[in-house]
Amino acid sequence: MINIILNEWKMLVRNRVFIYLTIFFVLSLILVVWMGIIQNSTQQEYRTNAQKHVRKQWDNLEAMNPHRAAHYGSYAFKPNNLLNSMDGGINDITGNVIQLEGHVQNEIVYSEASQSLSISKFGKLKSSLLLQYVIPLFLIFLAYGSISNEKETQRLKLLIFQGISMTRLIFAKSLSIWIYGLSLLLITIVFQSLLISSDPEVFQRLALLILSYGSYYYIITSLATYFSARLKNNTSALSAILATWILWTIFLPKIWGNAVEKIHPLPSRMAFKAAMKEERSKGIDGHNPTDKRREQLKNKYLTEYKVDSLQQLPINFDGIVMQEDEEYGNLVWDKHFGNNYNILQNQKGLYQVSGLLNPFASLQSASMGFCGTDMIHHLDFLKKAEDYRRVLIKALNDKHAYGGSKTGDWGWKVDSTFFRSVQGFSYNAPKINDQIGHYLIDILFLLWWVLLITFLIKLNTNKKIIL
């Protein structure tokens, strides 16, 4: 087998067009990786500046009532993961800014896609675009004629007469092309890792990317070689593998993507907001002094502190009401946003199942996931931002309640020393070890396809195909 592989490589290297194309691919990959990193770091710089700007404003807040500061709020800017330079995933589509303020859990807004004309339906030219679309297609072009050419020139008969096993020949031919694809992948990954970081987390993610892309390239080259062996001529083999490629990369992802949204439908924004408003109205209205539930809370505190009026309370009851309002709101947000997040995760799970029929779906999902740019990572950011909002607003409400002011004293102010003492928002992307469970299904389906194609070649190819 090794001899056949070496022989195939000798043949490939003798072909000038192949050499030129390889040089072109390597340079393109290096250029695309470099451009991706530049774009990522420029965007990251903008993001850091925006976050610093907002923090500076917070640190320099003039003396004000803590509740006013809660309305002033803060903003969280979605950071780019290091490997966003490789696969942008959903980052162009989702918003980048989320407002963190009292009384409400906001949604993330201002996506890049909404800031200009529509450009590319397949995303930016990052290395993932080349690795997912261009290189597999090139591997197909190398593989589709690998056996059928031998058949058409009658060389196959010669090879078989010399005693070589048909299965071994197919494996050797497809492995020789797979090694080529793998080399291009490794060049990309090595260059990527040289330019970005020595963080073990990044290496772990890159290793998983090698596994995913490596498996996909094996599937593509083996299937193309299999078609080349089974079908009567070059044209049929090329037609069959191209039809499969189009089905996998263009048709199925879109059709199945639409289908999962119909199977697990999300509420419309209108229905979502109306349901939250309805439930929210059942809690305390922090800004309505005639609210009945506020009255009940007042009585509870008067009893607890053994006083007759709010003025006698040693604390500021307004702050207590605001926090109570917040706690109730949090339950409502958790329920409704939580429900949406569950639906989104169910949709993702169902989409991943399509990997059973379409290895490209598994590759795409794994690539986004391992680059930290998929929905799971996005939802993690939203959750962390919301957690921070709750901590921030509670700190402000507690200061309002227990900071030394009395009920009704809306003119009471705290100075910037207090505001500076509240930690700013910082976000660390989740570790891949903690998230790997979400992507096991993608890896399993890719491996299932590797096994399936291997068995298909092993069980379904014999000397008869040369007849």
Binding site: Q43, Y46, A50, Q57, S114, L137, R269, L344
Partner: protein
């Protein structure tokens, strides 16, 4: 002429006898129907949602009218947000800005999934409010994209054309009888052109036949007929572009496989690599805007306005809105904090408009950059041309934002005029307000 008809007739026989081509043609037809159905579904959803909001608004107006009647008859006390004050009456006047879908949306969803299409407008609204964000949807699904007609036309039609054309002239070379054909007193170019024409007419006819029922269903011919004709012209032009490229490939081709490889490589370059490269360059030159200028207005600069003394605010308002000079309150020398507080949205709105102009201008710069690559990047050009016709492009939503701004201005002017004229709102006046925003 007879010869050309004969070539077309034998081409038809060739097509019918090729299961790969007929299956591809059928699948393509199904994809067209699926794409149009997706567009039609979203078009209907948008219309239904807008109708539901309008019905809801009618109910809310009825409730308000009853409230006015009960206040006037002394059945109930005025609530905390007194509806006889113009500010609260206008606040309670349901005023939604809608981006009504064009019936042509059936053929392209365009950027409709990246923007909201309804918004409750108040005097505090801005054109960058978070409720203008897109409908709740799975971002991975949006990133993968929807199979609408636009996608089918721009990305799948060339693939269908490749399948139909890759062995035209190639098969004869594969079987080495191509020279026999040219013994029949016909040039290679003429022979290929006739065969290509057959497929050009076939592909266009298929698209026309499958899209016309959807044009009828969605009501395109009730006002958007011209758009549909332009749309067909774009389809003709787009297909012509691909047929021309593939004609050149086949004229110089060395057999079916060679032609297929070249065709699919060109498709890959035009549909994936070049748009992706332009996308990447545009992001490098114009990174995503974090809208800090807008955020500054909505927080810091607004706060500075709120901090100003009432007297200064009154002067600022009179300066910014000269028509207020003739109002009752302008003639009054006493300071009324309530009137000033209810007028502040006017000053904040001016700041918002200034910053919005800057943001829209920076987006326009990016758009110009994208358009400057149209010659190299024809797919994005055609994509945006179709989106323009279907009213789902960036500019359709910019116009929607402009309409929202007009509505905000109208609300603020009404509030200012009636607040400064110390108008007391009754049922009739409220109905007038409602009429202003219908």
């Amino acid at each position: 002429m007879t010869r050309y008809i004969e070539i077309a007739r034998s081409e038809f026989v060739h097509l019918v006898r090729s299961p790969f081509k007929t299956i591809s043609l059928t699948l393509f037809g199904l994809a067209v129907i699926y794409g149009c159905q997706n567009g039609y579904g979203l078009f209907k959803d948008h219309k239904e949602q807008i109708m539901a909001i309008k019905t809801d608004n009618e109910r809310s107006i009825d409730r308000m009218i009853i409230q006015y009647e009960e206040i006037e008859q002394g059945i109930i006390d005025k609530p905390r947000r007194d509806p006889t004050i113009p500010y609260w009456a206008i606040w309670n006047t349901p005023s939604y800005a809608f981006k009504s879908p064009s019936p042509m949306m059936v053929f392209s969803l365009g950027q409709s999934e990246q923007y909201g299409y309804y918004k409750r407008v108040t005097n505090w609204s801005t054109i960058f409010d978070s409720d203008l964000a897109e409908e709740i949807a799975n971002p991975e699904r949006i990133a993968i994209g929807t199979l609408d007609f636009n996608f089918v036309l721009l990305y799948l039609a060339p693939i269908l054309v490749i399948i139909l054309l890759f062995n035209i002239g190639g098969l004869e070379k594969d079987l080495r009888f191509d020279n026999l054909i040219f013994l029949n007193n016909i040039s290679k170019e003429q022979w290929l052109l006739t065969r290509f024409s057959f497929y050009y007419i076939l592909t266009f006819s298929l698209l026309f036949i499958l899209t016309i029922p959807y044009a009828f269903f969605s009501g395109v011919f009730q006002g958007d007929g011209q758009q549909y004709i332009n749309f067909l012209l774009i389809i003709l032009l787009y297909l012509l572009m691909w047929f021309t490229i593939f004609f050149l490939v086949n004229v110089s081709g060395n057999g079916s496989s060679d032609q297929a490889v070249k065709m699919i490589s060109i498709w890959l370059a035009f549909c994936i690599i070049i748009p992706g490269a332009v996308h990447q360059f545009s992001s490098l030159k114009y990174p995503a805007n974090y809208m800090t200028d807008y955020l500054d207005v909505s927080r810091d600069q607004s706060n500075k306005i709120f901090e100003l003394p009432t007297e200064t605010l009154r002067e600022e308002l009179l300066k910014a809105f000269p028509t207020l000079q003739t109002t009752l309150y302008a003639a009054d020398t006493s300071l009324n904090k309530g009137i000033i507080n209810r007028s502040l949205s006017g000053l904040v709105n001016m700041l918002n408009k200034d910053v919005a102009r800057t943001i829209e201008w920076s987006s326009e710069k990016k758009n110009k950059f994208v358009r400057s690559y149209s010659v190299l990047n024809p797919i994005t050009f055609f994509q945006n041309e179709i989106n323009t016709l279907t009213d789902t492009d960036y500019y359709a939503y910019k116009k929607y934002r402009d309409d929202i701004q007009v509505m905000i201005d109208k609300k603020i002017n009404l509030i200012l005029q009636d607040t400064w004229n110390k108008v007391s709102v009754d049922k009739e006046k409220y109905i007038q307000y409602v009429g202003s925003f219908k």
